[in-house]
Amino acid sequence: MKLTLRVWRQKNADAEGAMSTYEVDDISPDMSFLEMLDVLNEQLILSGEEPVAFDHDCREGICGACSLVINGDAHGPERTTTCQLHMRSFRDGDTIDIEPWRASAFPVIKDLVVDRSAFDRIIQAGGYVTAPTGSAPEAHATPVPKADADFAFEHAECIGCGACVAACPNGAAMLFTSAKVNHLNVLPQGAPERETRVLDMVAQMDAEGFGGCTLTGECATACPKGIPLVSITSMNKEWLRATRKAGKR
């Protein structure tokens, strides 16, 4: 395959960025999108140019590091991570636009790499359970109803990639935060911090400068892990419950 790539290039956080155009040839449809970029980078290095910086780690769809907006879609045209996207989703001769996640809470560090540490701080605010350390507890000591276990697991699938923020017209982190809140709030292990978790994580989300939810639904469409829009509804419910309880205390 022969492709024209228009890639966002930006030297550093303070520099002005712009789209640059590159040609790549001999791309196999079986290559992953990141392997295609590897080809581009080898080509750039050989010609003495600066390679394109992009985030990646596991390349198997589980770590959440890869993060590209491809032709206007976070993670590209398929519902998967950029690393699991293959070139067979494109056609020979295509022009592909590649941009970084856009949100003021995710500033660009270089080229296609953005700083997602705002997510880490949301997790630090409440995305944990208080558990005694030491030997592992007896697995059957805390029964969890099947429906709750499924609900928790569905939300635990979130890999923290930030595609939801990138896709949201308001740069909101509601889908991510709701996945984390719902995952722990439904489980008995998460019960002691059930109220403080949702209040603190939402407050941190606001403090990081993410936007609010207008129920547009772009986040859930982009999410490679299928976190549904209704997760935000569940979090709102938890937030209102916690606020009522805090008011009584």
Partner: protein, 223 residues
């Protein structure tokens, strides 16, 4: 608790949802009341007079009406203020656009802000036209709402302003009612279809019901 609500984006959205639902409930009653115009001046004016005597003898003349007006003003101000502040926040959170543009959300979703502004301007015009009579076309007659309504809808601009605003209202309710359910945490996977259908039915009924009045005047059924 009040501070937590107003300080949080989720809380402010709750204020927007609650005030929106209050206005929505009022509009349902308002729309039904308006349809009495089809039963003649006597019945319509009698209904308008009754609005002032609701709750008597416990309430004094117009007390109930003023109570409703105060609740509505608080709702409109709370709704518009939270909408403005949240919108500012949203725009700031996403300053740079993508180079590659693609079609986004549904029309109703995209027009919430401008549609809301249209509704806000409409509310001002509507009150100055039919409540105070300040911008009324032809002599405004206090206590004769039937004639006042007929006068307003006998002008082309009266019809245009009103019908455009009611179409904007339908779109606003279509996305707004369903949104409010999500904001207030009453939406769920199994209820989603029912809520979307209810939002569409409400939007359609309100728009059609309100527009029926100028249509009645324009066609001469109401005169």
């Amino acid at each position: 608790m009040a501070r937590t609500l107003w300080d949080s984006s989720v809380g402010k959205k709750t204020v927007m949802a609650v005030s929106g639902v209050i206005m929505l409930l009022y509009l349902v009653a308002h729309m039904i009341g308006n349809l009495k115009i089809y039963f003649g001046a006597g019945e319509f004016n009698h209904y308008a007079h009754w609005l002032r005597t609701v709750g008597e003898p416990f309430m004094h003349y117009e007390w109930t009406l003023w109570l409703i007006r105060i609740v509505l003003v608080v709702a409109v101000v709370a709704h518009a203020t939270s909408a403005y502040q949240l919108s500012r926040r949203d725009i700031k959170a996403r300053p740079s656009k993508y180079v590659h543009k693609k079609p986004r959300a549904s029309y109703a979703t995209r027009t919430m802000r401008w549609g809301g502004v249209i509704l806000g301007l409409f509310i001002v015009w509507h009150l100055l036209d039919l409540t105070t009579g300040t911008v009324h076309s032809g002599g405004f007659q206090e206590g004769h709402p039937y004639q006042n309504v007929v006068d307003t809808f006998s002008t082309w601009y009266g019809d245009v302003i009103y019908i455009v605003a009611m179409l904007a209202l339908g779109l606003h309710i279509r996305h707004g009612f369903w949104s409010a359910a999500q904001t207030l945490g009453v939406g769920s996977r199994s209820r989603d279809r029912a809520l979307k259908t209810l939002a569409n039915v409400l939007a359609l009924l309100l728009t059609a019901g309100f527009i029926a009045v100028p249509v009645g005047v324009m066609t001469g059924v109401v005169s």
